[in-house]
């Protein structure tokens, strides 16, 4: 059973989550790039919320949040950024879903978070290759694996840390 039922409460929770995603994504984008890393490498803090939505409300709300987040990026940062956000987000949600289903719920949060981060990268690189008309995927694959593992571990640990808090907030609401 989904923890949060359909209806007004669910709508309110989704709206709140989308607001958190927007804030985290804007915040992360306004921070200076992480030193010693390529300038387009970011942690993907807002994915924490999407993952929480995925695990506690199901894949469909997570998918909806992903699409809405891309719309927010499209509005605030333009077509390219929005398109890449959509590519990364969709691939990431689909692969996490695939892993959960294939492993019959036996993957840990950490692995799912890492898989999500890697696929977010790969989706963006694929989208970028498409926009550029030049294949980049092979060149960036090793780098995105390494940074995906790092970013996935960090966001997974953060998710783990805020989970009890979120549970309290959303339990009270839902």
């Amino acid at each position: 059973m989904d923890k949060i039922k359909y209806g007004a409460r669910r709508l309110a929770v989704m709206g709140m989550m989308l607001a958190m995603i927007a804030v985290l994504s804007a915040l992360e984008h306004s921070l200076p790039p992480i030193p010693f890393l390529p300038p387009n490498v970011r942690l993907g803090l807002s994915n924490i919320i999407t993952m929480y939505a995925f695990f506690f409300m199901g894949p469909r709300p997570a998918l909806l949040l992903t699409v809405l987040k891309s719309l927010f990026v499209l509005l605030t940062r333009g077509f390219n950024a929005g398109f890449l956000s959509l590519c990364g987000g969709l691939l990431s949600v689909f692969v996490i879903l695939l892993l959960v289903v294939l492993s019959r719920n036996r993957c840990s949060y950490l692995i799912l978070s890492i898989a999500g981060a890697i696929c977010h990268n790969l989706g963006q690189i694929t989208g970028a290759s498409f926009l550029l008309g030049t294949p980049l995927v092979l060149y960036y694959l090793p780098v995105s694996l390494v940074f995906g593992v790092l970013a996935g571990a960090v966001t997974g640990a953060l998710l783990r840390a805020v989970m009890p808090l979120f549970d309290r907030i959303f339990d009270k609401w839902g």
């Binding site: 300038p39 695990f55 950490l110 550029l132 294949p135 060149y139 090793p142 390494v146």
Partner: protein, 129 residues
């Protein structure tokens, strides 16, 4: 989907090590020679087509046809985007490239820069288009 999963399992460490090992293996194949490769040249792709090549040992500042707002500079055996009108400047911030396999791209202007050539970059030649 609401039952709690474990945060980490012992098996995870193997998966992570496997991923990292694969990544480093690919890095070793795709980017041979961590030293600067003499005789490398940069290929500049605009809209998916090769628009210019530049040898890294011939210092110059240039733009490609049809894209005067993006400026490249070759200096001290490295090439960099030094100016672009794009909003995020990821291309400029990528900095100087001097090794085979390195890559910088400017999505808004649909232009990418890739270092190829050098002496032993057989791995890069394998990439099919």
């Amino acid at each position: 989907m609401s039952q709690k999963l474990q945060f980490i399992k012992k098996k995870d460490l193997w998966i992570i090590s496997g991923l990292l090992a694969a990544a480093f293996f690919m890095l070793a194949v795709l980017m041979p020679g961590s030293a600067k490769n003499a005789g490398c040249y940069a290929e500049i792709y605009y809209d998916g087509k090769l628009a210019a090549t530049a040898y890294l040992d011939e210092p110059r500042i240039f733009s490609i046809d049809g894209l005067p707002q993006v400026v490249f500079e070759v200096k001290d055996g490295a090439i960099a985007f030094i100016r672009s009108d794009c909003p995020d400047r990821i291309c400029v911030n990528t900095g100087r490239l001097d090794r085979a396999g390195q890559l910088a791209a400017c999505l808004p202007n649909r232009v990418s820069l890739r270092i190829t050539g050098g002496h032993d970059d057989g791995g890069v030649d394998v990439v099919a288009r």
